[in-house]
């Protein structure tokens, strides 16, 4: 399967421009698939996550401390974040929504997919494991493409994405 980096229309804020990745044969990008799947089950937590994305984009820029490390990839929300809204009261849902991403610099973030995390270790989570693994596979490919100068992250842009396609 091949994938491309896509621009997320209107997610171009004062300080950050957000991108996503679209896998061929899939109707939506990974990020929009996340939005469409989560909006019915976890609307409040998704709203808080979207507010976080908007605030980082509009006011603060993508600083490393606002993201959590997920091996090679990153994720939102940051470690200390506690969701305010309660969509789920079951104890196994205490970890909340997790969105995997890749912060390339202060003004460029690629948003991937995610889900509700139900266990402390991601490898044990039936919801998040595949998204975590995919995010790390894509991150490795993007890192390689940057090293090979196929694409170049700049200020609120990634140069070369028009001709960049990668296998996952």
């Amino acid at each position: 399967m091949y994938a491309t980096i896509v621009e997320l229309g209107r997610l171009d804020f004062n300080k950050v421009k957000y991108f996503s990745v679209k896998i061929e044969e899939k109707e939506h990008s990974e990020f929009m698939d996340f939005q469409l799947r989560m909006r019915n089950f976890h609307p409040t937590q998704l709203g808080e996550l979207n507010t976080l994305i908007q605030e980082i984009g509009e006011k603060y820029g993508a600083n490393p401390e606002q993201f959590r490390d997920e091996r090679k990839a990153d994720a939102l929300p940051p470690e200390t974040f506690q969701y305010f809204g309660l969509d789920d009261i079951e104890p196994e849902n205490q970890y909340g929504l997790r969105l995997y991403c890749l912060r390339l610099n202060e003004s460029v973030v690629i948003l991937f997919n995610g889900d509700l995390k139900t266990t402390q270790k991601v490898d044990d989570c039936k919801n998040c494991k595949r998204h975590f693994q995919l995010a790390n596979r894509i991150t490795a490919k993007i890192d390689e493409a940057i090293r090979d100068r196929l694409i170049k992250p700049g200020h609120k842009d990634i140069l070369g994405i028009e001709d960049f396609e990668f296998e996952i």
Binding site: V6, L36, G47, G85, E162
Partner: protein
């Protein structure tokens, strides 16, 4: 060169529009508080390490607090305020009172300045009269 793919994100904004205001305010406020602490640290020429030392905490712990979305208790904020020597959260009432005090002080200063100018002018006027008198007498 191929054309860039731009994806429609209206669902993102739709979700935001349907999110309870208190949830959005919670995220916004959490981030504002941390931003304020960061600004105050910069103003006071302090770093996270120094703050951690003053609070008797590890640098890693303080760094986690300043990740942008920590759910601070008033107790923790008070400790940080004391360590920095500045207020982080000021209530609107206090801001209004401070603004009133400031405006009053400015007004008083301007009145005093005016008085002093008038006083000087008065003195000049008297002097001018006497000079005229002296001139006419001569």
């Amino acid at each position: 060169m191929k054309k860039r793919i731009v994806e429609d994100t209206s669902v993102f904004f739709e979700v935001l529009g349907n999110t309870p205001q208190e949830s959005k305010n919670y995220v916004t406020k959490s981030m504002e508080i941390v931003h304020e602490i960061m600004l105050l640290l910069k103003e006071k020429d302090m770093n996270q390490k120094k703050l951690a030392q003053k609070l008797g905490k590890t640098e890693a712990e303080v760094s986690k607090w300043l990740s942008g979305t920590h759910n601070f208790t008033v107790r923790t904020l008070t400790f940080i305020e004391t360590a920095i020597g500045e207020e982080i959260i000021v209530t609107p009432h206090k801001v209004r009172n401070n603004a009133l005090k400031y405006t009053t002080a400015i007004y008083r200063a301007s009145v005093n300045e005016k008085k002093s100018i008038l006083h000087k002018a008065e003195k000049y006027k008297i002097k001018s009269k006497s000079e005229r008198f002296e001139l006419s007498a001569a």
